[in-house]
């Protein structure tokens, strides 16, 4: 690889349709498409499609020269020299040019306006390598034969390492690379991408994410898209994901599905998770009960700070919010609260009883979201506990959840106005 050296770079659109000659100056055909294989570091051109309806390819080894006038083959051409398309090969024009791809650098969807190819000398062999995708206006104008209008504009090329095609066509080696790159994306960015994709691409995209990331991204997606995704997903996979999602999100989604579908998914879920979700689904829309999550941290008052921290270490990976530690008696009555900071700076042997605040601001399960927002705002909380009439803690409403209601993302209503009115936006959101 260290030997690789680019000799000449050109645009695929400039080669498309150019004549192909063999060594006797006979015209064999025209460049209709190029097949690319991506099993090493770079995707390499392996063959040239030279006529419509002919599925055999001229092997790249035959090509002697390639310039603006056309393509020159090294020897005399005979159809027997042709090779067949390999399973993992892709056609540039048919499968990449003009298609939507994901720009991993900017985490957005872009369109492949043109493709840059490069002759490279690698280990003593000439290779034609696919280097980058042109996603800029200049590439678009080049396709129209109007590039001279934008001579002074910079090229907007996207290196191959930053693209992710919507349909996976790469070898397993490249898939591992893609997965690694996807892991770097923020779940909120993935959520935006998911909202933009069509339903087929979504399914294959979610397949590529690891489980934890898929859950985080799905949590960030707007409710409407969540519902669409779960409606179309395989039921086993859907129930697995729902188990792992925060129960309040899962309840929102299930509440929007048809009765049969949501019952079916709840049956498939683990009994404990399902019960939690069912409980949340019973609360009326817009109330604290419907907003809350049941994943919070609550410890008995007799625990020492040290013990509490140890238990926190075990619970933290699944709990939604760990900055407040609630103190409860054996029947789950809310007795006090302390912040993570207070817990950490306390002497290890202090019992929670001695450091907790006993005056806890809380809301009732049937309080509306306005009241919840007021309490959170007035006392500058990150989350507020939800209790029933006997002061038993049921869950917490985090500031994120309430922000979602108060300031809906513009993106949630991004679709054309008429679509929006025919979509029931559920649970009062």
């Amino acid at each position: 690889m260290n030997e690789a050296k680019a000799l000449k770079t050109f645009y695929f659109s400039q080669m498309l349709g150019k004549p192909i000659y063999d060594s006797e100056r006979r015209q064999i055909g025209r460049i209709k498409d190029m097949a690319v294989r991506w099993d090493g570091l770079y995707p390499q051109v392996v063959g040239i499609k030279y006529a419509r309806k002919v599925h055999m390819l001229i092997p790249i080894e035959q090509v002697q020269e390639c310039n603006e006038q056309g393509m020159q083959l090294a020897g005399t051409f005979t159809p027997e020299q042709c090779i067949q398309l390999h399973d993992s090969d892709i056609y540039i024009s048919k499968w990449l040019l003009d298609k939507q791809i994901i720009d991993l650098r900017g985490s957005r969807m872009v369109r492949a306006n043109d493709i840059t190819l490069s002759w490279m000398m690698q280990d003593g062999h000439m290779r034609m390598i696919l280097v980058a995708v042109d996603i800029g206006l200049r590439g678009l104008f080049r396709r129209l034969g109007l590039e001279f209008l934008l001579k002074n504009r910079a090229h907007n090329l996207l290196g191959l390492q930053y693209i992710k095609p919507l349909e996976s066509w790469t070898s397993s080696l490249q898939l591992t690379r893609e997965k690694k790159q996807l892991r770097e994306l923020h779940p909120a960015d993935i959520a935006d991408l998911l909202e933009e994709m069509d339903y087929k691409s979504r399914a294959s995209f979610i397949e590529n994410l690891d489980a934890q990331q898929a859950i985080e991204a799905l949590t960030e997606v707007d409710l409407e898209t969540q519902v669409e995704i779960f409606e179309q997903m395989d039921r086993q996979k859907a129930s697995d994901l729902l188990e792992e999602m925060p129960p309040d999100e899962a309840a929102d989604i299930l509440g929007e599905l048809s009765v049969e579908k949501s019952e079916d998914l709840l049956q498939l879920m683990e009994a404990e998770d399902a019960a939690e979700v069912r409980e949340l689904m019973q609360y009326e829309e817009g109330t604290a009960g419907a907003l809350m999550t049941t994943e919070f941290i609550a410890f008995p008052a007799a625990l020492t700070a040290q013990e509490a921290i140890n238990r926190l270490r075990e619970l933290a990976p699944t709990a939604e919010m760990i900055y407040y530690v609630f103190v409860v008696d054996e029947t789950e009555h809310l007795q006090g609260v302390l912040s993570l900071r207070e817990l950490i700076i306390a002497y290890p042997q202090t019992v929670l009883q001695d450091i907790m605040h006993t005056k806890v601001e809380s809301v009732r399960e049937d309080d509306n979201h306005r009241r919840v927002a007021e309490v959170i705002n007035k006392y500058s909380l990150i989350a507020v506990p939800v209790v029933d009439e006997e002061n038993v803690i049921l869950g917490i409403v985090t500031v994120d959840d309430i922000l979602d209601i108060l300031i809906p993302e513009r993106g949630d209503r991004e679709t054309y106005p008429w679509f929006a009115m025919s979509k029931m936006v559920g649970r009062g959101r």
Binding site: L144, V227, E285, P417, M421
Partner: protein
């Protein structure tokens, strides 16, 4: 869980009434539509009913193709044109769409101007105000609610049905006219015929319904519901247009009154509303025009940006998506600007834009049929050979009509002698 069940039932009902097909149907009867139907009724009596009948069937076919493509691929029409036909054809299709939609946007603003003129407000006040209001509301406000108001206003047009029933025209004659092929070869009849087709089946309607279906996440599996939604929608388009033509024919044509402005079409509502006819009409016209003026510039900007890969979406900032916002603003500005041109009559803008739509429809139809019959894209949902024959015949008829219109407009003398020669 009763509240849950209630929500779901309401949702179902809502879906049943408000699918993309039905919504597009209401939008098809916009300002330009009213103008064209009223003109058809006033000038030719019941003669245009046959053209309307045929074009409504074609509407059902065209919408069905678009909706099915949207459901199977999950993609918009401009997206598919770009992927399957490349940049040059996309540029062509988008140019066609832009020209047609600038015309239609202008006709919507004419509708707004007309409805205000009925109350004595000058178009130089109403149009700029409406343009700014629409521009601002779409980008900044919660338009879901505002739009429901306009849709409710549109329902006013159902009053043409009541009016038509009250007038009680000679029903046997009317029904006979709707299925008897009637044709005249002069330019004005041809123009109106193309206008009727152009206003029922619009290029933007095809782009719109496909995006609506795919954006709602309707898949091939659920397509059967959308199919009926589309059919019901096409039926509604026909029903309202039918009664506008019948009502205007029975009141205006019979008495030899010709239409000078769209406002005259209100006369056909007098049997129902008496002296309040103009008011009723103007509310309906305002609703329909505002509704379409809301959606048209936005959906055009979406389609164009989607095809060329520019960033788009109203959630983006101007810096992120300059092309999108530029196009959106330009469409409103040009549409409103055309209406303010001093010597142009509002009525002719409306009629002309429908003819432009009719002329520009065939290229879009060709793309649609090609895509819908591509087995690689549509799989088992591709057009059947028989269906394709119907679709192509319809496209061909429209092209022939368009060519006839061009010839009869450019060289009327030659046209007339050719017609005499053929014995028509």
């Amino acid at each position: 869980m009763t509240w849950l069940k209630n929500t779901r039932n309401r949702t179902k009902l809502f879906f049943a009434i408000m699918g993309p097909g039905v919504i597009t149907a209401f939008a098809d009867n916009d300002a330009g539509g009213i103008a064209t139907y009223a003109s058809a009724g006033a000038n030719y009596g019941y003669a245009m009913l046959f053209t309307l009948f045929i074009s409504s069937i074609c509407l059902a076919i065209a919408q069905e193709i678009s909706a099915r493509t949207g459901a199977v691929t999950g993609r918009g029409l401009s997206d598919l044109i770009r992927e399957l036909f490349g940049v040059k054809w996309t540029l062509f299709a988008m140019t066609v769409l832009l020209v047609a939609n600038i015309g239609t946007t202008a006709s919507e603003f004419s509708g707004i101007a007309t409805s205000f003129e009925i109350f004595g407000v000058s178009k130089y006040i109403s149009v700029p105000l409406a343009a700014v209001l629409i521009w601002w509301l779409v980008l900044k406000a919660n338009y879901e609610r505002i739009e429901k108001i306009f849709l409710v206003l549109c329902v006013t047009f159902l009053s043409y049905i009541i009016s038509g029933v009250i007038i009680d025209p000679p029903w046997t004659e009317v029904l006979k006219a709707s299925v008897t092929p009637t044709f005249a070869s002069n330019a004005s009849f041809l123009m109106l015929a193309i206008g009727v087709i152009g206003t029922t089946i619009t290029p933007w309607g095809q782009f719109y319904i496909q995006s609506a279906v795919s954006d709602k996440g309707i898949t091939a599996k659920d397509y059967k519901y959308t199919f009926w939604d589309v059919m019901v929608g096409a039926f509604f388009t026909w029903l309202i247009a039918f009664f506008i033509i019948v009502a205007t024919a029975a009141t205006l044509h019979v008495n030899g009154i010709s239409i000078e402005t769209v406002g005259d079409a209100a006369i056909a509502l007098q049997p129902l509303a008496g002296k309040y006819a103009s008011m009723l009409f103007s509310f309906g016209l305002l609703g329909a025009s505002m509704l379409a003026a809301f959606i048209l510039p936005l959906s055009t900007a979406y389609a164009v940006c989607e095809a060329f890969g520019f960033e788009h979406g109203i959630s983006k900032s101007y810096e992120e998506a300059p092309v999108f916002f530029g196009l959106y603003t330009a469409l409103i500005a040009i549409g409103a600007g055309l209406v303010l041109w001093p010597d142009l009559s509002l009525y002719s803008i409306m009629l002309a834009s429908q003819v432009v739509n009719g002329v520009l429809l065939p290229p879009i139809l060709i793309f649609m049929v090609l895509i819908a019959s591509d087995k690689n894209v549509m799989g088992s949902y591709a057009n059947s050979p028989w269906f394709n024959v119907i679709a192509w015949v319809f496209t061909a008829v429209l092209i022939v009509l368009t060519l006839m219109l061009l010839v009869s407009t450019i060289a009327p003398g030659w046209w007339n002698s050719a017609m005499t020669f053929l014995g028509l």
